[in-house]
Symmetry: C2
Subunit: 380 residues, 2 copies
């Protein structure tokens, strides 16, 4: 990329952005995690794009997926790569920063700026590790809620996110229906299926089987990088479709073959190794355990029929799924659509005929952009 | 089970059976593995059910899947469980032992009686480990071919098998078309897709990441049980369908919960652990590497169009796939069907509307039985 191209990419984006921090410091006893434990305080990493209007009614909250972070759009100073949803958030884009004030924060239990198991426990001076309480999707939303209020915002124009981000959207609809004018759950489910739990459990076992994991106490030594990379490899298979993998890699072999018997000589093998090892540089193994468990434990309605959790709500809803997404198949989106309609919510649903599997919501965004842009215009 | 029930199960099966052994001891230079290396000899574990007729023209070869073995039907003395395809092989069953002489042998490179990486190298007195040459599907078929000839059989009524067994069936059709009157490849592919390679690579990495693996030299110490169990867990997810997993386990939790944070409290998690740890008792980690690699390397036609490998052949073919099998999806079966038809072979194809995913060929056998029984009757 030339410097001119770089400058033009930045100009078309939300520009140079910075991560900000908010300390959620509730009065004693006012905030408990869902499982009854509490934390002395929670630091929240977040970013905003666009300008909050004087009425403070143009804010949209973006909720991130499993391995996402607060850096959803624009460029950090000196970075070559923009935020994870930069193709969707920016001037004139689906989440139009010329009109909307976009907020994205890292989830509690994560490892990218918001307090999580790798953060230092102020009471001991040591990283929490496994002493960090189990985190739920509801806890993530509680922390976002306090962040939104701290910005003086009482009503969100929309909450939108894919995958685990979509779970947070559903939780917002249930927990704070009066604060949400519209909601966009994408490629998500109101509860994990057996198969989704199974894949996550394999990832967790890969991490916990790594001798370096050491029951979560590895922050002073070598990290369980091998186990975490393996977990990510499994994850990556589930994020792609059979077809997109076949188109990209097929049975192609590397040009320089490693003569060792079980070397990764197929390109797809090398790609998975690459994704595994690069993930290790930016993600914490304990956070992987906590966040994947939060997804597995998520069951928005529990024993109730799903539509009952939306009773009394009146937001507009746009549900999106992707045809080739076999990790969050469309039947799970349809469960959400049915519940929203039964609850009387104005609900649109589109299954986009995309090829990239679960990753489609991040990479194959043309139709998704049009749908969201159109939907946000209709929200009062 | 009462003793009477047990006796009745045995009576309806191929009965009490014993594994036999055949030593394939080719003259020097007459048998090379596909990659050019050779072994001093290969011991082959095999079983037979039914009686070979005087014309020796009623033999059917059954080829097993990844973790299968020679014990396809009947009961070993004092065993409670029959062979792995006992619901398909026996008196009056699809592979009717009243009419046919059924042969099933463990593949070379395996660990259930046939020479493989855990066998002792007679030249060193130590297990081969990684000094065992890479094995291919063609090598497996060469060894079966010599076994069949050693039994005095020059023409097989049929060759049939599912999954990796189906690959061997296809290889038989290509390598020994004149010896095969009919062929039944089930839930299989003429070459692995990128996604199939990807899942196998995760399994291999799980094994090779286990410190006990020790570059394959673990036969005098602790085995890489944790890595092998993890590999099997991944495998098991791919063998089941989303639907069958949901029906069997859903989000059910164990009645006695383990209070540890990341304990396997969902039933599906416990099931995967159980399948993983029981697999370790009967399977060798190096064999897992060799056999999974053989499947990944299998590419029956290479750069040629698939139908060309069947030219000159004239066997009848029955191709079977299963609707919910997402590991070996029906489009791969259709590639085989198209090639067989282009090669002028009398080919039938059925996609069975089964619910159990890839495992359907082993567990949901009612329609499969009818199809195969009918097909075998039509073969001259």
């Amino acid at each position: 990329m030339t410097e001119t191209e770089e400058a033009s990419n930045i100009a078309e984006s939300a520009g140079i952005v910075e991560t900000q921090y908010y300390r959620y410091n509730p009065l004693p006893g006012t905030f408990l995690m869902e499982n009854g434990l509490s934390l002395p305080f929670i630091d929240v990493a977040y970013e905003t794009y666009g300008v909050l209007n004087p009425l403070k009614d143009n804010a949209i909250l973006i909720t991130h997926a499993f391995s996402g972070d607060a850096h959803a759009a624009g460029y950090h100073e000196n970075d070559k790569k923009p935020g994870w949803w930069d193709n969707m958030i920016g001037p004139g884009k689906a989440f139009d920063t010329n009109r909307f004030f976009i907020i994205c924060s890292n989830v509690v239990g994560g490892c990218q700026g918001t307090t999580g198991p790798c953060s230092v426990n102020p009471e001991t001076g040591e990283p929490y590790g496994l002493s960090f309480p189990l985190v739920t999707i509801r806890d993530m939303v509680e922390v976002q809620h306090s962040l939104v209020l701290s910005l003086g915002i009482e009503k969100l124009h929309s909450v939108a996110g894919g995958s685990m981000g979509g779970m947070q959207v559903l939780q917002w609809m249930a927990s704070y229906p009066d604060m949400v004018k519209s909601a966009i759950p994408i490629a998500t489910a109101a509860k994990h299926s057996s198969q989704q739990i199974a894949f996550n459990e394999v990832g967790r076992q890969a991490i916990m089987s790594d001798p370096n994991w050491n029951n979560g106490q590895y922050y002073h030594g070598a990290s369980p990088a091998v186990g975490l990379a393996l977990a990510r490899m499994v994850g990556h298979i589930t994020y792609m479709s059979d077809q997109s993998m076949e188109t990209k890699f097929g049975r192609k072999q590397k040009s320089e073959k490693n003569p060792l018997k079980f070397a990764a000589n197929f390109e797809i093998e090398g790609y998975l190794h690459y994704r595994g090892t690069s993930f290790v540089k930016r993600f914490d193994a304990n956070a992987y355990l906590y966040i994947s468990k939060a997804m597995d434990l998520f069951d928005l309605a529990g024993d109730e029929p799903l539509h009952k959790v939306f009773r009394g709500a009146c937001m507009k809803v746009l549900v999106i799924s992707f045809k080739s997404d076999w990790l969050y198949p469309s039947y799970q989106a349809l469960d959400i659509v049915r519940a929203c309609k039964l609850a009387g919510l104005a609900t649109s649903y589109v299954e986009i005929d995309a090829k990239y599997g679960h990753d489609s919501f991040l990479v194959e965004t043309e139709k998704e952009s049009q749908l969201i842009s159109h939907f946000l215009n209709k929200v009062e």
